[in-house]
Symmetry: D2
């Protein structure tokens, strides 16, 4: 049986108006060129966005049964330096624009304070019909609190 | 024992100056929102680029032991309509600019002639030190032949 | 615009009582050790099972909205020789046992007639409650036709 | 700039003779059936094995340039209950047999103390020629210390 007290997954924290999530590069993330496969940075980015939401109390998986989901509308990525097996990386997630039905997010993957990959991600909040929906008001307030640095350092 | 004559994987072909590769969406490509996971279009794009190279006789895996590889420098993607389980999609790959040490590529993922996702990918040809290398001259000629429509329809 | 006649994805065919699907190894399939990542053979296996179903007219994705799905109950894999970037592989899928609510499947991934990985997969047909359901009778008949070699060579 | 003190990735710890690693299920891990895709448990297993090694001071990525790697020889998995988006799971990794050139490992993926998936993984330590190599003596001693419960609780 599991003991009642268990270590948690890394959930990151909000520092200087952005969320930072640490992660390690495993074999699954790399390719035969010996570096992190280029698509996998989008997996890392999504982990960062999910944990940023969780940090401010938003459990976006809970709305999935109602068909309310964040979908990605646009992505732009710049690859500067390759990540490698065993690296400890940090995913930094910063809200750039808060809209009624979506968010513009700037994300970086860093190693020892240097940026490996950075990019913009535009996400839209949509309903079961795929059309944009207004994000809940308390979510928007929570997003604004991050941007304004109003959140206490975790 | 395997019979000597086997079906080949889909390798696509060059039509109207671009390469087109058909593929099917499997469970592995989808996520809990019921659609193709956003990072996986970059996997589809890379299959398209690889098969375009193979179509003109370039086996880029063969140079990997020498440390000569194409790496992705920049990506910009626009997601229009979600792909779904079981879809038959086409990845269209068009060379937009041929440089000494790299390529600018426009790619689309389509279903029944409609674009689901489109994007730009900038790839660089690099050596073991990660610095740009001049692509082999015959490769550059083969790229130009695609763009000029000089290649016979496969 | 897309021409009306397009190449299809590789769908494989039934030969000697088993289904064979060809596929190519891309960067996405490999890891930093230079070989196909061990979990990815399960992706290849699932492509094989899906195309075997499609070959006999079963579109299992079509039942997903009703919550009827095949889930994997057990897997046993033996890794003999690593697959590598650029390899053309064949996934062979053979029905070993046909049960009311499931299938026992033997699968191999081969290169030039040599087995790289082989394994057993037990799949169960389940309803929205996750409980076993009887597979449609015409599906069971189609499975039996494969095993008995009653299917014409495609 | 990054502050000098950062949160670490979850690395798990050794409890009751086994290593336990917590992780969260993200969209990337799920499929259109709304559950964790069956191949991805092998990714979770490998994270568990890697962090168990790291916990006892073994950085297996460091030997990759010399061509010394652990490869998986056999896997047997039993899927009991599906994992879902947002789940916090624990990967438990227990050494069952320590051999000169390999390890037999029992692994479980659990949610709230219940086993979702369990399995056996046989790994071999191999050289650049793919042939088995003797694992370093101090590694074998560290493995034995885990099994004997000689390691202090972290």
């Amino acid at each position: 049986m599991m003991p009642s007290v268990e270590e948690s997954p890394a959930v990151g924290r909000i520092v200087d108006g952005e969320h930072r999530l640490p992660l390690r590069v495993y074999y699954e993330d790399t390719d035969a060129a010996g570096i992190v496969y280029y698509a996998n940075y989008l997996r890392f980015f999504e982990r960062g966005r999910t944990e940023m939401l969780a940090c401010i109390g938003i459990d976006h998986a809970a709305l999935l049964p109602q068909g309310l989901v964040y979908v990605v509308a646009e992505v732009a990525l710049r690859y500067r330096t390759p990540g490698r097996l065993g690296d400890v990386l940090t995913v930094a997630t910063r809200l750039e624009r808060i809209r009624k039905a979506g968010l513009a997010v700037h994300q970086r993957v860093m190693r020892d304070g240097h940026v490996l990959v950075e990019g913009q991600v535009a996400v839209a909040f949509v309903g079961p019909d795929g059309r944009p929906r207004r994000q809940p008001d308390d979510w928007i307030k929570a997003f604004e609190a991050i941007v304004e640095g109003a959140l206490p350092r975790a």
